[in-house]
C-alpha cells in the first residue's frame, strides 16, 4: 500500500514536471491591441490597426523598417541608384513564395506598385508613389523603378505598410484573407474578438520562432488592464492606460517597454475657421498651453515635448519648443491684439484615446485661464473621422499623427487643418527633389520652423510607445518606427 502511494506520488510529480517543461517551451502568444482593423489590406486604408497585425508578419515590401527606424532590405536584396537619382534598380531575393505557394517575382512588384499609384488606387498614402513614373520588369528578379524627378525618400516610402508587395492571384480576397510573403500566414479572424496567424514554414528568411500568434482586440482601458493582470494576453502593444504602468513595473510577472513612436500628438486647429484663422490667435493658444502638465496629467509622464510636427529621435529634428513656451500673460496680450481681449468660444472635439480625452480636459482648463472657452465634445473614432477629419467641422481637436515622417501633410491645403501656405508647399517640393542628406536636413529644419512660426497647430508631445508584456517574452520592439507588431524574432525565455 505504502509503495503504491509512493509510486503514485512520484508519477504525479513526473506528470507535473512534464507539464511544466511543456509549458516552458511555449510557442504561441496572445497580443492585445486596442483597435480592431476594419479589414486586412494595408494597401487600401489608413487604419493603423491593419499594419499592427500585418506589417512584417504577413506582408513585406521591397524595403522595410528595422526596430530602430532605419531602412533595411526587405524583399529586395540590394539596389542601385543611377547618378541622376532617377532610376532605381532593385534585385529581388530568390525563392520567395507567397503563402498560397505562388512565386514572388518582378511581375508582382510591378503589379503592387502600379496598383498603389494607379488611377483607381484606394491607397491611403498615394503621395508616397507620386514620384514614380514607371515600373519595369527587367527579368524575374530585377525591377527598375523610374522617377519623374529625384526623390530622396523613395527607399523610405517603399518601406511603408502601404507599399507592401501583394499578388494579383490573391488580390480579390485580400481584405478578409490576406496572402503575403511574411514569416506568418493568416489563419482565422473572429470579428470583434481576435485574429490568428500561424508560422509560415516556407519563409525565405530567418523563420519565426513562434508557431502561432493571436491578436486580441480590447478597446476599454480597464478591460485591457484586467486582461494583462489576469495573463489573458501575453503582450499589450499601445497600452491605453499609462497610469497603470507603475503597477506592472512593480510586478515581477511583467515587463514594461517604453519606446518612441512617430506619433506627434497635436492640438489640431482648423486654420480656416474664424477666429482660428488669425495667426495671433493660434499663437495665443500655443502660449496658453503647458505641455509638461499635459504629459504628466494625461500620460502620467510618458511623452517628450515637441515644438513642431517632427519626431525628436529623427536626426533632422529641431527643438522649437521655445517658440511656444508656456506664457499665459503673453497669450492674453496676443488675444487682445487680435481683437479678442475677453477671449472667444470654440469647439474641442475629442476622439477616444486617453491622451485626447484627458489632454482635452487639461487644455480646456488652460485655455479657460486666458479667456478662451472651449466646448468639449467626446466622439467615437467613426464620428471623429466623419465630422473632423473628413467634414472639417471643428475648431480644435487632439490627435496623434502616428505615420512616420509625415510633415508633408502640411503641404496639402485640403488636409483637415486646412493650412494653405505656398511657401511651405514649395519647401516640400524642394525636399522631394533633394537627395543630399545635409541639404535635406536643412530643408526639413526650415519646414519645421515654418509651421512652428505659423502656429498651424498646438504641438504637444511625442507619444510614447507603451508595451506591457509577460516578463518571459523576448524579442519585442520597444520603439514603434511604424505601426507594427513584428513578431518574427519574438520567443519565450525559459
Amino acid at each position: 500500500m505504502r509503495r503504491s502511494w509512493r509510486k503514485m506520488v512520484s508519477a504525479a510529480a513526473a506528470l507535473v514536471l512534464a507539464a511544466g517543461a511543456a509549458q516552458a517551451q511555449r510557442t504561441d502568444i496572445t497580443v492585445g491591441m486596442q483597435l480592431e482593423p476594419p479589414h486586412l489590406d494595408p494597401t487600401s486604408a489608413a487604419a493603423g490597426a491593419i499594419d499592427q497585425v500585418t506589417y512584417a508578419n504577413i506582408f513585406e515590401g521591397l524595403t522595410r523598417f528595422a526596430s530602430d527606424g532605419s531602412i533595411v532590405p526587405g524583399l529586395a536584396e540590394s539596389w542601385e541608384i543611377s547618378d541622376d537619382g532617377l532610376v532605381y534598380t532593385f534585385r529581388l531575393r530568390e525563392g520567395v513564395k507567397f503563402h498560397d505557394g505562388t512565386t514572388m517575382d518582378a511581375e508582382d512588384v510591378k503589379f503592387s506598385l502600379d496598383r498603389a499609384r494607379g488611377e483607381e488606387s484606394q491607397n491611403a498614402q498615394k503621395a508616397l508613389f507620386s514620384a514614380i513614373s514607371e515600373v519595369n520588369v527587367i527579368d524575374p528578379l530585377t525591377v527598375e523603378i523610374r522617377l519623374s524627378q529625384p526623390n530622396g525618400n523613395l527607399l523610405f516610402n517603399l518601406a511603408w505598410g502601404d507599399a507592401v508587395i501583394v499578388a494579383p492571384e490573391s488580390i480579390d480576397d485580400i481584405k478578409t484573407n490576406p496572402v503575403g510573403t511574411g514569416p506568418f500566414r493568416f489563419s482565422n479572424w473572429v470579428q470583434g474578438d481576435r485574429i490568428e496567424i500561424v508560422k509560415n514554414p516556407d519563409y525565405w528568411g530567418t523563420p519565426a520562432r513562434l508557431d502561432k500568434a493571436t491578436f486580441k482586440f480590447i478597446s476599454d482601458p480597464t478591460a485591457a488592464f484586467a486582461a494583462v493582470m489576469a495573463e489573458d494576453v501575453d503582450v499589450f502593444t499601445g497600452f491605453p492606460a499609462p497610469e497603470n504602468l507603475a503597477q506592472f513595473e512593480a510586478d515581477p510577472r511583467f515587463q514594461v517597454l517604453v519606446g518612441s513612436t512617430e506619433g506627434e500628438t497635436i492640438l489640431s486647429t482648423n486654420n480656416k475657421m474664424p477666429p482660428l484663422d488669425d495667426v495671433r490667435v493660434r499663437k495665443a493658444i500655443a502660449h496658453a498651453i503647458d505641455r509638461q502638465a499635459i504629459i504628466d496629467g494625461a500620460m502620467f509622464g510618458y511623452g517628450t515635448p515637441i515644438g513642431t510636427h517632427f519626431a525628436p529621435h529623427n536626426p533632422a529634428y529641431v527643438d522649437l519648443t521655445g517658440l511656444s513656451q508656456y506664457d499665459p500673460e503673453l497669450s492674453k496680450k496676443l488675444l487682445a491684439e487680435a481683437g479678442y481681449p475677453d477671449g472667444f468660444t470654440t469647439t474641442l472635439k475629442l476622439p477616444p484615446p486617453s491622451y485626447a480625452r484627458r489632454g482635452g480636459e487639461i487644455i480646456a482648463a488652460q485655455l479657460a485661464a486666458v479667456g478662451i472657452k472651449v466646448e468639449i465634445t467626446n466622439l467615437e473614432w467613426a464620428q471623429w473621422l466623419e465630422e473632423v477629419f473628413r467634414g472639417k467641422d471643428y475648431g480644435l481637436t487632439i490627435v496623434s499623427h502616428t505615420e512616420p515622417f509625415d510633415i508633408g501633410i502640411y503641404a496639402r491645403p485640403d488636409y483637415y487643418f486646412q493650412y494653405d501656405n505656398p511657401a511651405f508647399q514649395g519647401l516640400m517640393e524642394e525636399l522631394n527633389a533633394t537627395t543630399d542628406p545635409t541639404k535635406r536636413a536643412a530643408i526639413l529644419g526650415a519646414a519645421q520652423a515654418m509651421i512652428a512660426k505659423d502656429y498651424v497647430n498646438g504641438y504637444l508631445f511625442q507619444l510614447a510607445a507603451l508595451t506591457v508584456a509577460n516578463a518571459k517574452v523576448a524579442g519585442l520592439w520597444a520603439n514603434a518606427p511604424t505601426q507594427a507588431t513584428d513578431l518574427t524574432a519574438v520567443y519565450w525565455k525559459e
Binding site: 482601458p221 480597464t222 502638465a293 504628466d296 484627458r358 482635452g360 466646448e375
Partner: protein, 282 residues
C-alpha cells in the same frame, strides 16, 4: 390630523428621518456649492494629483489634482438639477395626461393616452436615453429630456389609477351634480387627493433620475467635461482604482447615499401619507 401629530408620526418613522437627513445633506451640499466650495473645482494641479484624503483635501485629489470634495459637492448640483427637472417634466406632462385619461375612462382619449404610455414604457429607459443623446449629442440638457420623457408614463399611470377610484366617490358625484366640468373636478377635487401618491412617486423617480444621470455620464452621454458629474468621476476613476481607490470611492458613496436617502424618504412618506397604510398602522 393636527400638525403636531403629523410631526410626531414623521419623527417616529426612522426611515423617513434617516432618508430626509441624507437627502438634506446632499441638497444642502449642492446649494452650498453655489456659494462656497473648499477649492475651485476647475483648478487643476497636476503635480499634486492623486493625493489621498488629507486635512487640505478632505476626499483627496483626482488625476488632475482637483479637489474631490469640491467636485462631489458640485456634482451633487448636476445630479440634483438633472433629476429634479426630469421629475418636473414627468409630472408636468404625465399628471394632466393621467387625469384626462381618468376623466374619460374607457373613451377614445383614454385609450390613446394610455396606449401611448405603454409604447414609451415598452422601451428600456436607459437605452432610449442613449439613443436620444446619440442623435442629438451628449449634454446635460439632452440627458434631462431623455430621463424626463420616461417619467411621463410613470406619472400618467399613477394619476389615472388614483383618479379612477376617486371618480366613483359620492363627493365627486355631488360636484358633478352641482355642474362642475371634468377639468374643474380634476383640478379641485382629484388632484389634491392624489397629491400624496405623486409626492411619494416623485421621490422614488427622483432617485431613479439620479441613477440614470450617473449612468449616462458614466458612459459619456451626460454632462460634458469640465462640468463635474458623479457618473463621470466614476468613469475617470476606473483605471486608477488600483493605485488611488479614493477617487472612485467618494463619488460612488455619494451616489449610493443619495439614492438610499431618497428611497428611504419615499418609503417613509408613503407610510405617512397613504391613508390605507395609516389605518392599518393604527
Amino acid at each position: 390630523m393636527a400638525g403636531r401629530g403629523w410631526m410626531r408620526a414623521a419623527l417616529s418613522s426612522r426611515s423617513l428621518v434617516l432618508g430626509a437627513v441624507l437627502t438634506a445633506l446632499f441638497v444642502g451640499a449642492a446649494v452650498l456649492s453655489f456659494f462656497w466650495t473648499p477649492h475651485d473645482v476647475a483648478q487643476m494641479n497636476i503635480p499634486g494629483k492623486l493625493q489621498p484624503p488629507s486635512a487640505v483635501h478632505w476626499f483627496g485629489t483626482d488625476h488632475f489634482g482637483r479637489d474631490i470634495f469640491s467636485m462631489v459637492m458640485v456634482g451633487a448640483r448636476t445630479s440634483i438639477a438633472v433629476a429634479l427637472v426630469a421629475v418636473g417634466i414627468g409630472m408636468a406632462l404625465g399628471v394632466p395626461l393621467g387625469l384626462a385619461a381618468a376623466a374619460r375612462a374607457g373613451g377614445l382619449l383614454d385609450e390613446v393616452i394610455m396606449r401611448g404610455n405603454d409604447l414609451v414604457f415598452a422601451f428600456p429607459a436607459l437605452l432610449i436615453a442613449i439613443l436620444i443623446t446619440a442623435v442629438f449629442g451628449a449634454s446635460a440638457l439632452n440627458a434631462i429630456i431623455a430621463i424626463g420623457i420616461f417619467n411621463i408614463p410613470v406619472f400618467a399611470r399613477l394619476s389615472r389609477g388614483g383618479a379612477l377610484s376617486l371618480w366613483k366617490r359620492e363627493y365627486i358625484l355631488a360636484a358633478r351634480v352641482s355642474g362642475k366640468g371634468a377639468v374643474r373636478i380634476s383640478l379641485e377635487h382629484i388632484l389634491p387627493n392624489i397629491a400624496n401618491l405623486l409626492i411619494v412617486q416623485g421621490t422614488i423617480q427622483f432617485s431613479l433620475g439620479i441613477l440614470a444621470e450617473a449612468g449616462l455620464s458614466y458612459v459619456g452621454l451626460g454632462a460634458q467635461p469640465p462640468t463635474p458629474s458623479w457618473g463621470r468621476m466614476l468613469a475617470d476613476a476606473q483605471t486608477l482604482i488600483g493605485i488611488a481607490p479614493h477617487i472612485a470611492i467618494f463619488p460612488g458613496l455619494a451616489i449610493v447615499l443619495t439614492v438610499l436617502g431618497l428611497n428611504l424618504m419615499g418609503d417613509g412618506l408613503r407610510d405617512l401619507l397613504d391613508p390605507r397604510l395609516r389605518r392599518a398602522r393604527r
